[in-house]
């Protein structure tokens, strides 16, 4: 599904990602973890096309996409959310989804939009102005809904669960499982909560200082001393 080979990203003199490599198969839910500043969002930006890698390959369904434009990757079936929600300004919630569908999926299917609105519990907000009239959690759901509207096969979720209290979080995890099933998605999720990763993901990849320091089943990964050190080290700092 997705394969990264020695991806390196620099901002000026700063190395944000160094030789990042991993691969994932269709249908996987992969947890991407690491302390703040480890390069998780940069990795998402690199995969989705906001940031160009200095070197290395990014293959999506065995196709090199490292040089492709942002919008072209979206059309291939690569959806993502932003950690800080970025609704399309001056558009209603429904228009947000319509634009995503028309341009991302290349078709207009109002029934499916309604379905996504239902699934993401946004139906009652459909006609509101997305940028100014939604609460934060609604905006986060809109982020996912927009990505879904583009008919993705791979979905990159950036801290969509942050800020939820535990019951809501459990419900949301169930929701993500449902989406995974219903739309046959492959998911990469950035999440700080180890428990969430353990329950949701079949696999975890840990980044620290822009490098992959562990990759495997969540329970194994979180017992890895290097991972523990990176976390506690950061926590102490």
């Amino acid at each position: 599904m997705l394969r990264l080979e020695d991806v390196t990203v620099r901002f000026g003199g700063l190395v944000a990602l160094k030789d990042v490599s991993f691969a994932m198969g269709a249908g996987e839910i992969l947890g991407l973890v690491g302390p703040n500043g480890a390069g998780k969002t940069t990795l998402f930006n690199t995969i989705s096309g906001l940031v160009r890698p200095r070197s290395g390959n990014i293959l999506f369904e065995e196709r090199e996409i490292g040089g492709m434009a942002l919008h072209a990757r979206a059309r291939l079936g690569l959806g993502r959310t932003f950690q800080i929600p970025q609704p399309m300004h001056h558009l209603t919630v429904r228009e947000n989804l319509t634009v995503a569908q028309v341009f991302g999926a290349g078709k207009s299917d109002p029934a499916r939009i309604d379905e996504i609105l239902q699934v993401m519990e946004l139906a009652e907000h459909a006609e509101r102005d997305a940028a100014t009239e939604l609460a934060l959690q609604e905006l986060k759901r809109l982020e996912i809904a927009k990505a879904l509207a583009t008919n993705p096969r791979l979905l990159l979720l950036d801290e969509v669960l942050a800020g939820l209290e535990s019951q809501a979080k459990r419900r949301f995890i169930a929701k993500l499982r449902e989406l995974h099933q219903r739309y046959g998605l492959t998911i990469v999720i950035v999440e700080h909560d180890i428990e969430t990763i353990s329950t949701l993901c079949s696999r975890a990849v840990v980044l620290n200082f822009g490098q992959v320091i562990a990759d495997g089943a969540p329970d194994d990964v979180f017992r890895n001393p290097a991972v523990v050190e990176s976390y506690t080290g950061t926590a102490d700092a």
Binding site: R75, E95, V99
Partner: protein, 318 residues
């Protein structure tokens, strides 16, 4: 529905009434014709500004290219004038392809890059004298024809033709704005990354808007050429064709569809009938004051204020 379309209906009504009242007055009709030419360019300018999010200081480039293309095609290739007008628009659109690299530039740089193109085109028109007649000008090309008994080269004839053309361009603008493309462009103005990440090819859509804007501008440039029937580079690429539409669109409200058109006619008549009477020399100073005042007090234009109060329809004006 009627209330929402009220400004449009009023404008259409006014357009029909003017020839009834002033039809016999060649001078007023001449001013109206010139005003409508500016209106067409202002519409095209506002389309690029509002939908494409790009301010241009060089629409004279398209105006001049359209004018020369139509004049040359009708005179040298024998193309009938109605077709050469469209060809003028098409060639102007084609010329805008040369500006595609400018789409990557941010606002002010785009605005001034287009100005550079206008300069370059003007110099080319001067230098390619074997084709354009150079600075000596080019006069012998056909006027607007008589079709089905209507002499379009007469003031009244050209007036109606222009009213119809402006009307069609307005409808085209409205259709684009209401389409998915229009929605995406609206989003792009302030959330470009969010829009691109769902699959919108921002550069392509902007390019289409530039093309459309260039086409409309070229079309009106061609119309003007066949009405005036004399071209020289200084006139065809004159800065006036870049400046007046900006003033008109800002005055009328470039975020609205009708604003630039109403603004153009109003500004042109005001300048010619009132400003010129007050200040025979340098009356453009009044336009300058007006433009500065509009930007400071009501950047969305008079029509923008009016439209907002009337319909409450919202966010296009942000």
């Amino acid at each position: 529905m009627v209330v929402k379309n009220l400004p449009g209906i009023l404008l259409a009504l006014a357009a029909c009434l003017i020839p009834l009242v002033y039809g016999g007055n060649g001078y007023i009709m001449g001013l109206m014709v010139s005003g409508l030419i500016v209106a067409g360019v202002a519409l095209a300018w506002a389309l690029l500004g509002n939908l494409g999010g790009m301010v241009s200081f060089g629409h004279a480039a398209f105006f001049g290219v359209g004018a020369y293309a139509s004049a040359l095609l009708s005179a040298k290739a024998g193309l009938p004038v109605p077709l050469s007008l469209l060809a003028g628009g098409a060639v102007a659109a084609l010329s805008s392809l040369a500006m595609l690299p400018a789409l990557r530039l941010s606002g002010p740089y785009f605005a001034l890059a287009i100005l550079a193109y206008a300069h370059i085109f003007k110099i080319l028109a001067t230098e390619l004298s074997w084709l354009t007649g150079g600075s000596a000008g080019f006069a012998r090309f056909p006027v607007l024809p008589t079709i089905a008994g209507i002499d379009f080269s007469s003031r009244i004839g050209s007036y109606w033709l222009l009213v119809v053309m402006v009307g069609l361009c307005l409808l085209a603008y409205r259709a684009v704005k209401a389409s998915h493309v229009g929605t995406a462009l609206r989003a792009m103005a302030e959330s470009e990354d969010a829009t691109r990440v769902v699959g919108v090819n921002a550069t392509l859509l902007k390019a289409w808007m530039l093309l459309l804007s260039a086409f409309i501008t070229g079309l009106f440039g061609a119309m003007n050429a066949h009405i005036i029937n004399f071209l020289e580079p200084d006139y065809a690429f004159s800065g006036t064709w870049s400046v007046l539409p900006i003033i008109a669109a800002i005055f009328g409200g470039y975020r609205t569809i009708l604003g630039p058109v109403a603004g153009a006619v109003a500004i042109y008549l005001f300048d010619q009938l009132v400003a010129k009477a007050i200040l025979p020399v340098g009356h453009q100073i009044i336009l300058g004051v007006l433009l500065a005042g509009m930007i400071l007090i009501a950047p969305n234009g008079l029509f923008g204020l009016f439209g907002k109060k009337k319909t409450g329809a919202a966010h296009a004006a942000a």
